[in-house]
Symmetry: C2
Subunit: 322 residues, 2 copies
Amino acid sequence: MKDIANLTGYATSTVSRALSKPGRVNAVTRMHIEDAARQLNYTPNTQARALSSGRTGTVAVLVSAITNPFYFGIIRGTQQQLNAAGYAQLLFDTEDSGEMEVAMLHKMRRSLDGAILAASRLSEAALAQLATEIPLVTINRNVPGVPSVAIDTPHGIGQAVEHLVSLGHRDLVYVSGPSVSWPNRARWQAMRAAAASHGDVRLRQIGPFSGERPAGSAAADALINTGASACVVFNDLLAIGILGRLMERGLRVPADMSVVGCDDIFGADFCHPPLTTLTAPIEQAGRMAVSLLLALLTDKAVPRRLVLLPTHLTVRESTGHR
Amino acid sequence: MKDIANLTGYATSTVSRALSKPGRVNAVTRMHIEDAARQLNYTPNTQARALSSGRTGTVAVLVSAITNPFYFGIIRGTQQQLNAAGYAQLLFDTEDSGEMEVAMLHKMRRSLDGAILAASRLSEAALAQLATEIPLVTINRNVPGVPSVAIDTPHGIGQAVEHLVSLGHRDLVYVSGPSVSWPNRARWQAMRAAAASHGDVRLRQIGPFSGERPAGSAAADALINTGASACVVFNDLLAIGILGRLMERGLRVPADMSVVGCDDIFGADFCHPPLTTLTAPIEQAGRMAVSLLLALLTDKAVPRRLVLLPTHLTVRESTGHR
DNA sequence: ATTGGCCTGGCAATCGTTTGCCATTCGTTG
DNA sequence: CAACGAATGGCAAACGATTGCCAGGCCAAT
């Protein structure tokens, strides 16, 4: 900027304003300065800008396990929207650890404008505390005072139960994910409510399981022991694991067991058999989270507290008549 | 730091050194300062540090399409290794565009210590040019002067051809990916060499196709027209797409067509039928790229120019006797 | 003609560290 | 005993922007 100032004869303060506060200087002044900037191939120094302005232009996105395809969509969505708004995206894998989340965010709080927590493992208190240190938006985790976008899988669960009941299933199992998982609890609640609305439906829960594919083996074995004819599984990853194990054990899907997953991740449509699942607008959730965060940053007023994104049941071949 | 200085009675310069250059100050001084730092809950300001030292502690990782599961492994690997070394990872999706790569890197060059390019679409010249602006490591892209880690799929291709030939296939097709893709060209070369070493093997190429799943439909149709009995496909994503379409068209895999993929991505083991593929140490590639980059940053001497990572053929159920 | 307010642009402090250079102390060696 | 070098700590100048405050010019309204 000093070079531009020398070249044009203006002061660096004017240069700064011309480049970042368009309205603050005369139009022709600005043009001169912009020309000079182009000519000198000027790129603003992010660090210096951040140091004096306090705004870093960086947003962290924390996922709990980057290997889980569910997050691919989230990351894609946040990336798009952040880029469009001129922000950079810092990606962190918290390895499913709440402490890691806190540690990372606390350490980086000065170098971030905000953070998006996809699937936080933190307690409400910890989250609320963190939200005072740094602007936060959560995904699939509803905490008072923290703006959040949630995927309304619970509502979809109703559809899934309808679907299974209409196929003649009366003995249903919910295969539970990690008990610390908020969506897992929400799904189980919804499942209970849905089952209750049909008088003659029996519902059981097995688990918790880890929500990763390998856990599917144990889950499938437990599932077989229940003698039920259909299940709804915490997420697709686990469901795919279950599918594999059921086949190993000689059960046919859906003839012997109907399986419904959640999320419709990459792979749900080409596994064997293709998975009936609750399709979630994952990428949109990422985009929406960014929108909320940006609103939080610019307006400083807390935006809509909670955005609910609808899901729908996608019927493929893992469910059938009892 | 000023607070620490006041509290302990040392100068800020001493505080700075105590905290970042362990050997430079007396041990007891350092302990005093560290105590004070802890007590004051001190967190260094990344921007300020970067501003004065020129080191940002941030490395960019560019992928060409974040939805491609191949990159999940890369990202995971880089993340691990970068974290361990105290670096933050800035993730960019270049959306398969070379201009985007250049634009991003050029803009961010001052705020990055280095960058890792997974699957660059840039020309050699452009890459070499970029490498003068910012320390660079490429993955699967070998350019003179730029350290690189390559996955030795070409060598694995030999194994794949062996495998197919031993199953009685004599009419082979290589299903090509994007022609700008460096690994694609390398794989085709290797395929030709491998086929040539067997006198009576016929080899054809079809494509190029995009390397995304939807392209599999067109690829499968073209494949059927060749009348060949086996193929090696540019990558697993495309191969999975092909599998789906072949089934739609009523062909059985492997009875009517044997299919070999490349990379062994997430999903290759549970698609239908499970895919025979060249297993690549993807995550390791990410880790290795970081190691090269860090070596480049600290030693300032160019490290090993090219690291080749071995692959092996994983036989599943998409290949069988002719 | 005076007053007041908007539009522009400049001055200089500030953001929080790092680091080159210098001064002091102290132990060692010839 | 002199001289020298290593170890340690302080001073102050960067690093490259942003921004609060001020001043001059100009125009319109009184």
